[in-house]
Amino acid sequence: ACGGPELTKTADGRTALRVGIIPTIDAAPLYLGVSEGIFAKHGLDVTVHVADSGAALIPATVKQENQIGYANVISDFQAAEQGLDIKLVHNCCGSGADPAKDVSQVLVKPDGPIRTVGDLAHANIAVNSLHNIGEVSIKMALEKRGVDVSGIRFTPMPFSDMNDALKRGDVDAIWQVEPNVQAALAAGFTPLISNFVEARPEATLGYYLTSGAFAKQNPQVVQAFSDAMDEANRFATEHPDKAREAVVTNLRFNPEIVSTANLPTYPQGLDRASAAEYATYAVKYGAIEKAPDLDGLF
């Protein structure tokens, strides 16, 4: 299982790198890194590959078809726990500290059965995927507010279906992330908690990752990517308009919705402390069985 596909170089000596990502606003710095020439400056020729879910992204990364992939922190733990050989490379996106600017909200119907944060204790909440970041961060946030989370039910469905499900009353509350939060607000729903920020301010929620084998064989490529992402994340933070534009042009996001959407933070470096805290809660809420070996992951 050593070796893996050879890296190819472009004519001017840059290393070709394929980076897999899911279509969210989180991908903005990656696109900016390409369009602003940041990767080129670091000797990388990055192509972005978009896939709908981690189910396809992680194996493609393990196979080193995408040398770099993306997954949120809980998925990273889960993959590692099941023995997939992955290594985190760089922060992708984070929560910031201002609840008003959180990309993630739990919303309810204004005239529905759930009116207060306390009511959520026995709510049926829509999340995009069970046992994952939504579930863990919501529980974290609620516990910090002193709500008993043992009675909450979660129902999986795509973000795009949640507004209708809430409207019909199939669920009591929905967890939306941008840009869908905007659509949910437009539909007249009331936000109750900003679960990412409230769970842990300044947390890192998603990481770029690579396969362990690739990291071992190409430390300088991984380092170059990491350096480039530092720069790209900084650029995106400094130029939120360009970040918005990047997802509109590259991912064809609806410009109207994106223009009002909150952006995540694009933190520097590789945040291990935040991962450690999430790991504790992930174990507590049963998303993983035991605490991950962070030394192996980082």
Binding site: G20, I22, P23, T24, H49, V50, A51, D52, S53, A55, A56, I58, P59, A60, V62, K63, E65, N66, P158, F159, S160, D161, N163, D164, K167, P179, N180, Q182, A183, A187, V247, L251, R252, F253, N254, I257, V258
Partner: protein, 263 residues
Amino acid sequence: MTAVHTARPTRPGWLLAAGTVVVLLVLEEVLTRTGVLPADYFPPVSQIVAALLPELAGAPLWLQLGQTLQGWFVALVLATALAVPLGLLLGTVWWARALTRPVVEFLRPVPSVALIPLVVLALGTGKQSELFLATFAAFWQLLVATTAGAGAVDQVTAEAARCYGLTRAQTLRWVALPSALPYLMTGIRVASATSLILVVTAEIIIGVPGLGAQISLNRAGGSPDLMYAYIIVTGLLGWLINTALAAGERRVLHWDAANRGPR
């Protein structure tokens, strides 16, 4: 084999079909406009068409369409090329059928969705994964159709072939295959839709370029109009493909009772 006098849809037939479609579209428009169907998830046709029109002018849509069409075609051809010989064999050789039956029945219900991570790991995120998934799904449907068809050879016809010393290969080609054709052609139309659906699904989930990738992007990007526009393009593609297949079928099966014309 050339077509003789086949029952081609006549002009009124086309008008009728088009008319029905128009009625259904108008119905949808009215239902969404009046709020019987929720318009924000299910946009009225006019809105979808408005979103679709600019796409039609641009090259990207046609490129994506081409990608999807190519995937569909290759997968269907592959599945047919694999399933038809095997199906004829299984339909005519009872012990081969008996030997493989549990395995075949076991593999058929394996959902392609579950296979996606494995396929990506083995084949990557390129076209080949899409082709594998679509071929896999279409293959079983064609296999069942061909096996059933080959088993439905008229007994007297089969005996005539035996009496005149046709070899096994000749019997397969000239007796079992034509007898199985009516089943097979139906199977192809079923499998064609399956192949298209799997190609689009693979595009959605793995991100292989094509109509599916656009559906996925527009869903994530908060543009239900465009998402539906692409779904509609997919549906139209399915309809076009079927129309072509049905026309081909009338030529290939011109001798079948269904196409013999008035008596």
